[in-house]
């Protein structure tokens, strides 16, 4: 086994899952339901980025910025127009999940109507790549890993050092108490939905740059994202970091083992799920407790 390459690939996979799982778990921990439309918001980020950089010819950082803002707005609107009215009417957890699936449907087929279902490839940018010994490395991988680390650090400081971060944590652990101690929980939710969906857009654009953009982009990584979020413990963002590394490693080592065992490497997608099932049986609360520190 080419261990350095496997470790690098794991870091790349894990970084993508990390961005996508952090954004999922932020809303999951606060709004208390898994947002299945997360997948289509990721695809939206991919499409917006594709449109900006390939069709309009703007530089890639601009594409990332616009993808963040547009996906963030989509998240904000979905909260304002769908999930807030539903929660205010006392919708059950299952109703919220079904509504998020319905929203995913609307978004997916709107994207399909605008950009088509055939996958689109980024062609304008050619990423430089290097061979370091036995390791193949490209610039976009480095960018992805660096971005994931930066997002992690930024969120860490936001959660621990800023007022809004404290408000988010307070609202997540006890919404009623947060409200009665003068926190504007609606504002907290609006900001969280925006940031979370925006990060989903960035994850989607990275995935699109790495592979291709299609309305199924998000769906393809939604379930591993759930696996990371649940392994880490819902709402726990340090847990998600550790879980992203674990799932990234498991997937990349697993692929090599599958190939050696003569099994189809399509089972790569099943590896996070197997871990997820094992987590649910043995540790449904996730890793979170181990990393909460108190």
């Amino acid at each position: 086994m080419n261990w350095p390459q496997i470790l690098l690939n794991s870091a790349v996979t894990g970084s993508l899952y990390l961005i996508s799982a952090i954004s999922l778990t932020l809303v999951y921990g606060l709004a208390k339901f898994p947002n299945f439309a997360h997948a289509e918001i990721m695809s939206l980020g991919g499409f917006i980025g594709f449109w900006i950089s390939e069709q309009l010819g703007a530089p890639l950082p601009v594409a990332f910025l616009v993808a963040f803002i547009v996906a963030g707005l989509a998240g904000f609107l979905s909260y304002r127009l769908i999930f807030k009215p539903l929660s205010d009417k006392g919708a059950s957890l299952i109703h919220l999940m079904v509504a998020s699936m319905a929203l995913g449907f609307i978004l997916r087929h709107t994207e399909g109507q605008i950009w088509g279902f055939a996958p689109l490839t980024f062609q304008k940018i050619v990423w430089p790549s290097w061979e370091l010994g036995s390791v193949h490395i490209t610039l976009d991988w480095i960018l992805l890993i660096v971005t994931a680390i930066c997002i992690g650090i930024a969120l860490h400081f936001m959660m621990t050092r800023t007022k809004i971060g404290k408000a988010i944590r307070a609202t997540a652990s006890n919404p009623k108490l947060a409200l009665s101690s003068g926190i504007n929980t609606t504002r907290v939710l609006v900001i969280t939905w925006f940031v979370s969906a925006g990060l989903a857009g960035i994850a989607g654009l990275f995935r699109g740059v790495e592979t291709r953009v299609s309305p199924y982009l998000g769906w393809d990584i939604l379930l591993p994202t759930f696996a990371v979020a649940m392994l880490g413990g819902i709402g726990s963002f340090y847990g998600a970091m550790v879980a992203a590394v674990i799932i990234g490693l498991a997937e990349n080592i697993g692929v090599v083992l599958l190939a050696q065992a003569g099994l189809s490497t399509d089972y790569r997608m099943a590896i996070p799920f197997v871990i997820l099932i094992a987590v649910l049986i043995f540790r449904p609360q996730g890793l979170a407790k181990a990393f909460r520190g108190n």
Partner: protein, 310 residues
């Protein structure tokens, strides 16, 4: 046979098959409050089991029964790790199971020819297309009637009352000594078995199945049938199934005959999504109200309480 008539009869078969599957989700979600987001998995297990068994020479009525048993077994297997946890975990695990199953069927060529799919030997070769269609309608209709009355009996039985209790107040059900994990697992088995029967009938009718006949979108449309029709109402979900299926068939016909600037399938799915959200917001109980418990005992009690109404 007239082309329009063929369309209508075809649609009837689909309505019947999906009514059975919608009834099964009604047992799980409508009565018991279980979020099975992997409905398509059991539908797929039923379809593939039926196809493989018939191919192996098992007579088709037995194959339908076995398809139900196999689906029930997998229903139990999948529900066990998640059933003790909150609804969202069950939703994610069942959804995940559907995806793994599709990967498995695609990857293991030896089992069912992988991505290329398998053809299902016709159960009753009449050689006549319209005769075949009519036999299918009768078969599906008969099984639907059986499933409907089974569900009605189940809902009015003591078991049905436990199902509702688990949905409405799990802690209370626990407190009166009902083992919720056991009952939920049983409901899940019943639901999966019925979905398996639906899958078997589906495979039998279309005669050729591939892994991509069983995309997660099917789960969504089944949920739509139940949410639209009214969870907890057996008649409601059948009406829901009919409405959604006729809508879908209509879109397919529209696609064949009229050239539109937008893809009708996209428009249909966007509309489906909007309808679900509107229903959840303004009429979360669906079109039909949940039917009241109706047994000899409750009828007598009502007569005693209220003698004027016969």
């Amino acid at each position: 046979m007239d082309l329009i008539l063929v369309y209508v009869l075809n649609a009837l078969v689909y309505v019947g098959i999906f009514s059975i599957v919608a009834l099964s989700l009604n047992a799980e979600y409508g009565y018991t409050g279980l979020a099975s987001f992997g409905k398509v998995a059991y539908f797929m297990i039923g379809a593939y089991s039926f196809a493989i068994l018939v191919e192996a020479g098992v007579p088709w009525p037995l194959a339908i029964g076995l398809a139900a048993v196999i689906a029930a077994f997998f229903g139990l297997l999948v529900s066990l790790p998640a059933i003790r946890l909150r609804e969202d975990y069950l939703a994610i695990v069942t959804l995940t199971f559907g995806e793994i199953l599709r990967i498995f069927i695609k990857a293991e060529d030896w089992l069912a020819n992988g991505v290329w799919g398998i053809s299902v030997p016709p159960s009753f070769a009449t050689g006549n297309f319209s005769k075949q269609l009519i036999i299918n309608i009768i078969l599906v209709g008969a099984i639907l009637v059986v499933c409907y009355f089974f569900m009605r009996l189940l809902a009015n039985s003591p078991f049905g009352r436990i199902m509702r209790a688990l949905r409405d107040d799990e802690t209370a059900a626990d407190a009166i000594g009902k083992n919720r994990i056991k009952y939920k697992a049983q409901v899940f088995m019943i639901g999966s078995a019925m979905a398996g029967v639906g899958g078997a009938l589906f495979a039998n009718f279309i005669g050729y199945i591939t892994p991509d006949s069983f995309l997660p979108i099917i789960t969504f449309t089944i949920w739509m049938m139940v949410i639209l029709g009214g969870p907890g109402s057996n008649i409601g979900v059948i009406v829901g199934a009919a409405a959604v299926q006729l809508f879908e068939r209509g879109t397919i016909i529209l696609k064949d005959y009229i050239h539109l600037p937008v893809d009708p399938t996209n428009v249909q799915n966007i509309l489906f999504g909007l309808i679900i959200i509107v229903i959840l917001m303004y009429r979360p109980g669906g079109l039909f109200k949940e039917s009241k418990v109706n047994t000899l005992g409750t009828r007598r009690a009502m007569r005693w309480l209220n003698p004027s109404s016969k």
